[in-house]
């Protein structure tokens, strides 16, 4: 079933903008891009939560730091994407390394709270940077520059995002199948046993955390490009909450959990906003229903059996 779904999914993604264009809805290419960027961030979080078994409530911080890296570099005249986007991932990786080193010494509820604390600290740090916009955020003068494409064109940017999301999904699939992924699965099921078996559990979890952080940073770089603004709200705890909600909604630990969650949550919001002024109410009700009756999220509903 998965064999058919993957190419079909990719084909749909590639065809979508042309369908939108033909129906006069070019604007929605931008909407689709935004959804896919969140899907990337949520996929990264899913790696940490679903594969690594760590419930992190501060992921938005790495997302936001990625956005700010690109914005600040652009502020200083550096617009090349091949420089600033990896830089965004790197900054996010360093931050998640720092946060992970301290947080991963705690467990359960305390881990949730301490990741939340660090994210808030980073939020206030960013807000305090008046030179880089403070509360109002830092606008980007233009989109990042890529040699072959003109990212200012929404269509080109959309394809760049699709490519990166596909690459990330492929990367996580490879990791899952590799020894690292097997080790993580073992840790997820029984950490003590893995430790007893001699696995460097702490280092493995940290690596998982950092990879998830780095990919989130990349997503942040894309987000800054999409909206043209690096805003401190990207780091606020409610943003972390929303990313976590996407992961849970999509299906924790399922391969497409992040993508499904982002698609459904943001797609639902967008669709409902066109019909009613009170879309948030119905989104809330839908989430509550999923929480109550679909414990494995949408992926669980679709598959009927858990992945990996």
């Amino acid at each position: 079933m998965k064999r058919i779904a993957e190419p079909a999914l990719l084909a749909a993604a590639l065809v979508l903008p042309f369908v939108l264009g033909a129906t006069g809805n070019e604007f929605y290419v931008g909407v689709a891009t935004r959804i896919l960027i969140f899907a990337l961030a949520a996929t990264a979080l899913n790696f940490i939560v679903g594969y690594g078994g760590m419930v992190a409530f501060g992921h938005a911080a790495f997302f936001g730091l990625g956005a700010y890296t690109v914005a600040i570099l652009m502020n200083h005249g550096i617009t090349a994407a091949w420089l600033t986007w990896p830089a965004a991932a790197a900054v996010a990786a360093v931050a998640s390394l720092g946060v992970g080193l301290i947080s991963l010494r705690t467990r359960g509820v305390y881990f949730i709270m301490i990741t939340l604390a660090f994210a808030q600290m980073l939020f206030y740090l960013v807000v305090s940077l008046k030179a880089y916009g403070g509360d109002d955020g830092l606008p980007l003068a233009s989109r990042s520059a890529l040699p072959a494409l003109d990212l200012a064109d929404d269509l080109h940017f959309y394809f760049a995002v699709v490519a990166l999301l596909a690459a990330a999904l492929a990367l996580f699939a490879r990791i899952d199948a590799a020894r690292f992924g097997r080790a993580l699965a073992g840790i997820r099921q029984n950490e003590t046993r893995m430790e007893a078996l001699g696995y460097p559990v702490f280092r493995l979890k940290l690596a998982c955390f950092v990879i998830g952080g780095a990919v989130a940073g990349l997503a942040g770089a894309l987000m800054a490009n999409q909206t043209g603004l690096a805003s401190p709200n990207l780091l606020y705890w409610t943003q972390s909450g929303m990313l976590l909600v996407m992961v849970i909604l999509g299906g924790v630990g399922s391969r497409y959990g992040g993508l499904l969650g982002a698609l459904v949550l943001l797609g639902l919001e967008e669709w409902l906003a066109a019909i009613t002024e009170h879309s948030a109410l119905w989104v809330g009700v839908a989430l509550l229903l999923v929480a109550s009756f679909a414990p494995r999220g949408i992926a669980g509903l679709l598959a009927g059996r858990r992945n990996g």
């Binding site: 006069g24 070019e26 604007f27 509360d135 109002d136 955020g137 909206t227 805003s231 709200n233 066109a274």
Partner: protein
């Protein structure tokens, strides 16, 4: 959804043809309609809608579609809304933003898309000087202006020791700069608060410790309401004279705070008792329509619509001919509720600024009374830096 489709297709066709008269005008109205700043946005919107009613739902004789959206006082949301207006709805005019930080966040992309932005409130100094833009027009004032007028008044009153309070955002900074441009006495302290802050206990304790003669504050909307209430509650109104620009002393704040506002001198470019036919009609009809006296924000919304009407009319509806629309906007041939109206070279107004006092009127309402003129035909301080032809 299908209306947007049709409109977009139509706009696409129109764009391909030489500039013919459009068959309708689209206005994107984005303002703060929720949160503590909502009173301002709602007033601007209501003033705008009243003007649309007076104009029969038409701008320059063409049927007008006004799309209203809430910016939630957030730069992200404002940007998303502006994006939608420009790319999806393809509006001809945009207006409504209250806060200068939001204006600066969306300015560039809107101007780059060659959409005219008629500001009915936000008048940042940046857009009056070096960053002035042919697509930006401000029908209200430049941020510094009302504060300059208060500064002059406080200076003339001979008050020696003043504390300034404003929120830490472009509008607040412009306020402090404007006040100090005309007040030459001793500024005991400049207190910057957080935009959206509602509890001023810490700042008021500082004020008490500094023992100033007077306090000048710029805190629009809900911020000002809370500040004045807490100022009075802390017992500071006995020893410290309060001064404010009209923003913190208009109907929205008066309605919330009431009698403690009596005796507050404030500045404004407009007063509801200004004696001209257009204003009398505006105030009377606003009271009838909405059951409250309009604030200066409402008057700005009203004038923004009238300006758009004049622009469409004088460019003969050829909305795609951006040069013609710009010329029509610059000419500004409309009857403002302020009386005479004209733009300066940087698309900001040159106008009079008045002194108002909050008193009880003949009907027993606590409201502003026009007391006199502080500045005549006053221009902003940044027009020299603007390089627009």
């Amino acid at each position: 959804m299908h209306n947007a489709l049709r409109a977009a297709a139509l706009a696409a066709c129109l764009a391909a043809l030489p500039a013919l008269a459009a068959d309708k005008v689209k206005v994107g109205f984005v303002s703060t309609l929720s949160g503590p700043g909502a009173g301002l946005g709602v007033d601007i919107r209501d003033g705008f809608q009243l003007a649309m009613k007076h104009l029969g739902g038409k701008l320059g004789g063409l049927p007008a579609e006004v799309i209203v959206a809430d910016d939630q006082q957030s730069p992200d949301t404002t940007k998303q809304v502006a994006d939608r207006f420009v790319k999806k709805d393809k509006v001809d005019f945009m207006t409504g933003i209250v806060f200068s930080n939001l204006m600066l966040a969306v300015g560039k992309p809107v101007f780059d898309s060659k959409t005219f932005y008629i500001s009915a409130n936000a008048g940042p100094s940046q857009l009056a000087g070096a960053d002035c833009n042919p697509f930006f027009f401000n029908v209200a004032w430049q941020n510094d202006n009302l504060h300059e007028a208060v500064g002059k008044y406080v200076q003339d009153q001979g008050l020696k020791n003043v504390i300034l309070v404003a929120p830490n955002y472009p509008g607040g900074k412009d306020a402090m700069t404007g006040f100090k441009r005309f007040y030459k006495g001793h500024v005991a302290d400049e207190i910057y608060t957080k935009l959206g802050q509602l509890d001023y206990a810490a700042e008021l304790a500082q004020v008490r410790a500094a023992k100033p003669d007077a306090l000048f504050f710029f805190l629009p909307g809900g911020m000002g309401i809370n500040f004045v209430k807490q100022f009075v509650a802390a017992g500071l109104s006995k020893d410290v004279r309060l001064f404010a620009p009209g923003f913190s002393a208009d109907e929205d704040v008066i309605k919330a705070v009431g009698a403690p506002m009596l005796g507050l001198f404030n500045s404004s470019h407009w007063a509801h008792d200004l004696d001209n036919a257009q204003n009398k009609r505006f105030v009377t009809d606003f009271r009838k329509e909405y059951g409250r006296t309009p604030s200066l924000y409402a008057s700005q919304g009203y004038d923004a619509a009238l300006l758009m009407d004049a622009a469409v009319r004088d460019s003969k509806g050829r909305l795609d001919d951006k040069a013609a629309v710009r010329k029509a906007l610059e000419a500004a041939k409309f009857q403002s509720v302020r009386g005479a109206f004209r733009f300066n070279a940087n698309h900001y107004p040159v106008q009079d600024y008045y002194l108002r006092l909050i008193r009880t009127d003949a009907e027993g309402r606590v409201t502003n009374k026009l007391m006199g003129t502080i500045f005549s035909k006053h221009a902003d301080a940044y027009v020299g830096e603007c390089k627009m032809k």
